[in-house]
């Protein structure tokens, strides 16, 4: 059998590297490499605005503009490793900023535009951001009031109108030279930060390095079958890891033409884009697929979708019925893929060209070694038991040997260390491995929520609710939703002097939405007289969830053992309806 690392080594041979030993820069591989090889006039990105007007950027234009932005950053005093973040919709400037920041060897990240002021403040502060590229209105609504509290933030580069205390992105870019020589970049130099959430604590800033580009390239070639000539559309927002890894980096490194839709979801619009742009590879989420399914086969039948060669999905389990629907409606099945913010690239997939196993996330890629494990505590130390054999269930754990693996949680070495045990990376996902080696997703080992393809940590939502004067305690769970997989529901107890009412319920949801934005705020909220606790005093979200879904409490044992505390069965939840 081919050693696992050979898969990545072979893929790396397709990439250039920078002159000099041990130098690799994502932006060079994504853009400048193609220009150097004579493909500069090929369309790299095609932006489709809300009215349907297309604005294309060739690889050559993208190379020049990103070089100009690298010069802007150097002129502003940005040094290698400094954090440069963006808060902007899917405009060309966002992509130019990303590639320019990578050329300047800054560490780049995108903040999701549906976040409210609080998650944005927390992330800017956590990463110690030096430069923020922000659309004027988003900045005014979500950053301006907290700017004084982010001492590291030296420059705001405004897209659109100039806001107080900002510089004009467009003016700076226009005045900058569009030639830039990327300085030698060590492959293990930090390049990107992607935020993710755990059950407890603030969001984690997963750090990825320039070497990750090998993983983006190899997996996009294999699991999405991307090849020059393809018109590829990744529908994920760049505010989440998929939108950067597979919406920005992977397609450019593969030299394809990538579609960026600036409109909101609309089934008819999506089918029209596939037809007009002759999209050959589509990478989307099960939530989006369920929205297309809702729109009915008649709508799809009005469009010529024969250009579609590969359709793949990520973010949450893809049900078998969606695979069948796609065969009948799109003319191709859907290949589910599995990976995480931390893994940086696709790890497990139903590969194109092979039979799709409906309802399964697929098999590990050639460069990935996956195990099913059970956690065991012995003398206060965590150990893992590997569960061998066919048709076994447990936690998915991976041997961390692929290039796009995260290298740190920024400034949190302890949390980083906790992600590993006995030489394995612990994913927190519970899976079943069948006799053929295919994996199926069973659920999470912890209490994070998967909503519309996004991983949401209950802690951030509970903290926002607790900031309201009426709230004594809050517990947040994921509740099944027909379209978005799960939606968040909050249970709260009130402080003395406050009474549960429909008006207070709306007030609390409104309070959370103003702070967190719609993507994180609870969609539903119920009052309780008391919340269930472990004996050590932690709120047992799993009991709340079991209560909400009518599940037996026996399902709780695994998670509670992981918490190191027994459930206090004498304290059932008592939920009020208003």
């Amino acid at each position: 059998m081919e050693p696992k690392t050979d898969f990545w080594r072979t893929a790396a041979q397709d990439l250039d590297g920078l002159p000099g030993d041990l130098s690799l820069n994502i932006a060079h591989e994504a853009v400048d490499r193609h220009v150097a090889r004579g493909a500069g006039e090929r369309d790299a990105l095609r932006f489709i605005d809300r009215r349907g007007v297309v604005r294309a950027f060739t690889y050559a234009e993208l190379s020049k503009q990103s070089s100009a932005f690298a010069n802007v950053l150097i002129g502003l005093g940005v040094r290698p490793g400094d954090r440069v973040f963006a808060l902007a919709p899917r405009t060309p400037e966002l992509y130019i900023a990303a590639l320019g920041a990578l050329k300047a060897r800054a560490v780049f990240s995108v903040l999701f535009t549906s976040f409210g002021p609080e998650p944005i403040r927390v992330r800017l502060l956590k990463a110690g951001v030096k430069v923020l590229v922000a659309e004027d209105t988003l900045y005014q609504r979500k950053v301006a009031q907290n700017r004084h509290a982010i001492p590291s933030l030296r420059h705001v580069l405004s897209l659109g109108a100039l806001v107080p205390g900002s510089l004009s992105f467009t003016r700076l870019l226009g005045a900058a030279r569009d030639g830039y020589t990327i300085a030698p970049t060590h492959p293990d130099e930090p390049a990107l930060i992607h935020f993710t959430s755990g059950t407890t604590g603030a969001p984690k800033a997963a750090v990825h390095v320039h070497r990750a580009v090998i993983g983006h390239y190899a997996t996009a070639r294999l699991a999405l079958a991307l090849a020059p000539g393809d018109v590829y559309w990744c529908t994920a927002d760049p505010g989440w890891v998929t939108g950067v890894s597979y919406g920005l980096i992977a397609p450019l490194v593969c030299g394809v033409t990538s579609i960026v839709d600036q409109g909101e979801f609309d089934a008819e619009r999506w089918y029209r884009i596939i037809e007009q742009e002759q999209v050959s590879v589509l990478y989307t989420s099960p939530t989006a697929i369920r929205m297309l399914m809702r729109a009915g086969p008649e709508l799809a039948a009005r469009f010529n979708l024969r250009s579609l060669r590969v359709v793949a999905s990520v973010g949450e389990p893809l049900h078998a019925d969606a695979v069948q629907w796609a065969r009948a409606t799109l003319g191709v099945p859907i290949h589910d893929t599995w990976w995480q913010t931390e893994t940086g690239a696709i790890m497990i997939a139903n590969l194109p060209g092979r039979d799709v196993i409906p309802g399964a996330m697929g098999r590990p890629l050639p460069g990935v070694e996956a195990h099913v494990v059970r956690r065991r505590e012995e003398g206060g130390t965590l150990h893992l038991d590997r569960i061998e054999g066919a048709d076994v269930s447990g936690e998915l754990a991976l041997i961390p040997s692929w290039p796009s693996m995260f290298r740190d949680y920024h400034d949190e070495p302890e949390r980083y260390a906790q992600a590993f045990c006995d030489g394995l990376y612990l994913t927190g996902d519970l899976v079943r491995r069948d006799a053929g080696g295919a994996f199926r997703f069973l659920g999470r080992a912890d209490e994070v929520i998967k909503s519309a393809g996004h991983l949401i940590g209950p802690f951030e939502i509970e903290s926002a609710l607790l900031a309201h004067p009426a709230v004594a305690e809050a517990g947040v769970i994921g509740k099944p939703h027909a379209v978005s997989g799960e939606v968040t529901k909050a249970f709260v107890t009130l402080k003395p002097g406050f009474e549960a009412s429909d008006s207070l319920r709306r007030q609390l949801i409104g309070h959370a939405r103003k702070r967190l934005g719609p993507a994180l705020a609870p969609r539903e909220l119920a009052f309780a007289d008391s919340l269930p606790h472990t004996k050590s005093g932690k709120i047992m979200r799993r009991v709340l969830r079991a209560h909400e879904l009518g599940l037996p409490l026996g399902d709780l044992s695994a998670s509670d053992a992981a918490d190191g505390a027994e459930p206090d069965a004498s304290e059932p939840p008592s939920v009020q309806s208003t």
Partner: protein
């Protein structure tokens, strides 16, 4: 149905999904997405809520026509022309 009653129903539905919205500041001609923090799950929930409250079916293909307050009124008004008042909520 009287237009004011219908407007009230749509605003109430909107406030059920996004209670923080200041209705009086809303530009009826501009899409919800463009003036308030309103994502696609909110939008779907608004459509489902209107269906429930008004006892009608809104096909997915019509959703984009209901993307603003004025759009909602223009789309819903003819459907409810014969209705003196909305059905009681259950």
């Amino acid at each position: 149905m009287n237009e004011d009653v219908l407007r009230q129903i749509v605003c109430t539905a909107l406030l059920e999904i996004a209670p923080e919205v200041e209705i009086e500041k809303l530009d009826p001609e501009v899409s919800f997405h463009d003036q308030i923090d309103f994502d696609s799950v909110d939008y779907l929930n608004l459509m489902l809520h209107l269906e429930k409250v008004l006892g009608i079916h809104i096909p997915d293909s019509a959703y984009t026509r209901l993307s603003s307050l004025e759009g909602c009124l223009t789309y819903l008004d003819p459907l409810l022309a014969d209705r003196p008042q909305p059905p009681e909520e259950t």
